[in-house]
C-alpha cells in the first residue's frame, strides 16, 4: 500500500516534470511560429514536418557551441546563475493541481505532485527566488551591461511582487484558503445553476488584471523585458553567456511562462473545472481526464496570450515601468483588497 502510493506519487512528479519541460521546449517553437504568423511570415518549417524538429535542432546547436567563461568572471557563480534560474523555474509546477481525482481500484489519486496547504505562498516563494538566478548570473559576468540587466530584473521583480501579492490577498479573501487544491475545487461549484463555472475571475476581475500584468513583469516578458532589453543593454543579464548557459536562461523563461499560465488558469479561470462538468452525467474518471485536457487548453491559451502580447506591444521605458508598478498597480490592488473585504462584510450582513 505505502509503496504503491510512493510509486504513484513518483510517477505523477515525473509526468509533471516531463510535461513542463516538453511544453517549454515547444513554447520556443510556438513563439517563433506565432511571431511569424503575426508578421505575415510562415516561420520555421524546414526541420521535420511543419518544422516540428526545430526545438531539437536548436538544442543540438546550443550543446555544440563553446561554453565560454569570461576571464574575470566569478566562475562558480557564473555557472550557478543559469542553473539556479532553471532549478527554481522547474520547482514551482509541483503544487499545481493538474486535475481532480482518478478513482482506480477504490483508491482516489489526486493529479497533483505535492499538496501543501500553503500552495500559493510556495509558488510565490519559488518565483521570487527565480530572480536570484538572473541576479547572480548578471553579477558574476563582470560586465556592466549584465550588471545593469540584473539590477533592473531585481528592482522590477520587487516592485511588481508587491502588487501581485496584494491582488492575491483579495483573492484569498474570497476563497478563504491558501491551498491550490482547495481553490481549484471551490471553483467547481455551481454558479447560476451551471456547475463548474464558479470561477474566481467573476469575483476578482480587477485582481486578475493586476495579476496578469504582474505575471508579465515577473517572467520578464514584453512589455516588461527591460532586464534583457537588447536596444539598450546588448543582451542584459545573459550578454556573456553562450552555449547551454544561455540555453538554460531562455528555457527557464519559457518554463516560467508555463507556470505563470498554469497559476493564472488555476487561480482565476477555474483550473480543471469546465462548465456543466457534473450535469452531463459522465463517469467520474472521464470528467477528471476531460478536466485535465481543459486545464491544458486554458494554459495553452495563456501561453499564446503571452506571445500575442509580445508581438503587439512595445517595451516600457524604465521610469514608466516604475510609475506603473508603484503609482498605479499598488494603489489599485490595495483598493481592490479594501473593496473586496467590504463586499464580503456586506454580504455577511445582508444574507
Amino acid at each position: 500500500m505505502e509503496l504503491s502510493l510512493l510509486l504513484i506519487k513518483g510517477l505523477i512528479i515525473f509526468a509533471v516534470f516531463g510535461i513542463t519541460l516538453l511544453i517549454a521546449t515547444y513554447s520556443t517553437y510556438a513563439e517563433r511560429k506565432v511571431a511569424a504568423f503575426i508578421q505575415d511570415r510562415v516561420g520555421p518549417n524546414r526541420a521535420g514536418p511543419f518544422g516540428l524538429a526545430q526545438p531539437l535542432a536548436d538544442a543540438v546547436k546550443l550543446f555544440f557551441k563553446e561554453e565560454f567563461v569570461p576571464a574575470n568572471a566569478n566562475k562558480f557563480l557564473f555557472i550557478a546563475g543559469p542553473s539556479l534560474a532553471m532549478l527554481t523555474a522547474c520547482m514551482s509546477s509541483a503544487v499545481i493541481p493538474f486535475g481532480g481525482t482518478l478513482i482506480i481500484g477504490g483508491e482516489a489519486i489526486h493529479l497533483q505532485a505535492i499538496e501543501v496547504n500553503i500552495g500559493i505562498l510556495y509558488v510565490f516563494g519559488i518565483v521570487a527566488l527565480g530572480v536570484y538566478g538572473i541576479m547572480i548570473g548578471g553579477w558574476a559576468s563582470n560586465n556592466k551591461f549584465s550588471l545593469l540587466g540584473a539590477i533592473r530584473a531585481a528592482s522590477q521583480n520587487i516592485s511588481y511582487e508587491l502588487a501581485m501579492g496584494m491582488s492575491i490577498i483579495a483573492l484569498l479573501l474570497v476563497t478563504g484558503t491558501l491551498s491550490m487544491r482547495d481553490i481549484a475545487a471551490q471553483q467547481g461549484q455551481e454558479l447560476f445553476g451551471v456547475s463548474g463555472l464558479n470561477w474566481n475571475i467573476f469575483y476578482q476581475p480587477v485582481g486578475f488584471l493586476i495579476f496578469i500584468i504582474c505575471a508579465f513583469a515577473e517572467t520578464n516578458r514584453v512589455p516588461f523585458d527591460l532586464p534583457e532589453c537588447e536596444t539598450e543593454l546588448v543582451g542584459g543579464y545573459h550578454t556573456e553567456y553562450s552555449s547551454m548557459g544561455m540555453g538554460l536562461y531562455l528555457f527557464a523563461e519559457y518554463v516560467n511562462i508555463f507556470v505563470a499560465s498554469a497559476v493564472m488558469a488555476t487561480l482565476y479561470f477555474g483550473g480543471y473545472n469546465f462548465p456543466f462538468m457534473n450535469q452531463l452525467g459522465l463517469p467520474h474518471n472521464l470528467v477528471t481526464i476531460l478536466g485535465t485536457v481543459v486545464l491544458f487548453a486554458k494554459i495553452f491559451f495563456f501561453i499564446f496570450f503571452f506571445m500575442w502580447v509580445r508581438w503587439t506591444l512595445p517595451r516600457f521605458r524604465y521610469d514608466q515601468l516604475m510609475n506603473l508598478g508603484w503609482k498605479i498597480l499598488i494603489p489599485l490592488s490595495i483598493a481592490n483588497v479594501i473593496i473586496t473585504g467590504g463586499a464580503i462584510l456586506l454580504k455577511a450582513e445582508l444574507f
Binding site: F37, D40, V309, T312
Partner: protein, 168 residues
C-alpha cells in the same frame, strides 16, 4: 504659418481622457490588429517546393540550339561576343573536317564557346545579334548558385542543347 495646400488639419493637444489614460482599449485594439494578421494569407513562396511562374519572355539561362537534323547551328561568327555589353562571351572558331557534317551545320564552327554567368547581365542582345538563330535565353531555367567562381563559366558541355532522342 500659411500652409501651401490648405489641406493640413489643425490638431490641438488635448489632455487624455480616462479610457485613454487606462491604455487598455488601445492595447485591445493593437491585439486585434495583430490577430487579424495572424489569420491573414501569407505571401511567402516556399521556394524549393513551390516556384513562382515565370513570364513567357523571361530571359534565363542560355542554350546553343541544334537544327532539325541535330547539327549545331553556331558558326562562331562572333557577333554575339561583339554585341555583349558585359563581354561575357568568348569563343574559338574552327573549320569543320570531312566526316563531321552531321555534327556542324556550316563549314565553320565553335571549338569552344564560353559564357561567364557572373558577368552576364541576361540582356538578350546575343540572342538578337545571332544571324543563325543559334543562341537563345530559356524562359524556364536560371543559372543556379554554386560554390566556386570557375563553375560559373559555362562551356559547350553545359550550353549546347542535348541531342534529340530520335537522332542518336
Amino acid at each position: 504659418m500659411q500652409s501651401l495646400s490648405n489641406r493640413a488639419k489643425k490638431l490641438e493637444k488635448k489632455p487624455m481622457n480616462f479610457s485613454e489614460r487606462m491604455y487598455l482599449p488601445a492595447i485591445f485594439q493593437g491585439l486585434s490588429i495583430t490577430m487579424r494578421h495572424f489569420f491573414k494569407k501569407k505571401a511567402t513562396i516556399k521556394y524549393p517546393e513551390e516556384t513562382r511562374p515565370m513570364s513567357a519572355v523571361w530571359r534565363g539561362l542560355h542554350v546553343l540550339k541544334r537544327d532539325e537534323k541535330g547539327r549545331e547551328r553556331c558558326t562562331a561568327c562572333g557577333l554575339c561576343a561583339v554585341a555583349c555589353p558585359a563581354e561575357a562571351i568568348t569563343m574559338v572558331a574552327g573549320e569543320r573536317k570531312r566526316g563531321e557534317e552531321h555534327l556542324y551545320r556550316e563549314e565553320k564552327y565553335a571549338i569552344s564557346y564560353e559564357i561567364n554567368m557572373l558577368r552576364c547581365i541576361f540582356c538578350g542582345l546575343c540572342e538578337e545579334a545571332c544571324p543563325k538563330a543559334a543562341i537563345f535565353l530559356q524562359n524556364d531555367k536560371v543559372a543556379p548558385a554554386r560554390y566556386e567562381r570557375d563553375e560559373f563559366i559555362y562551356g559547350k558541355d553545359r550550353l549546347v542543347e542535348p541531342m534529340p532522342i530520335q537522332n542518336q
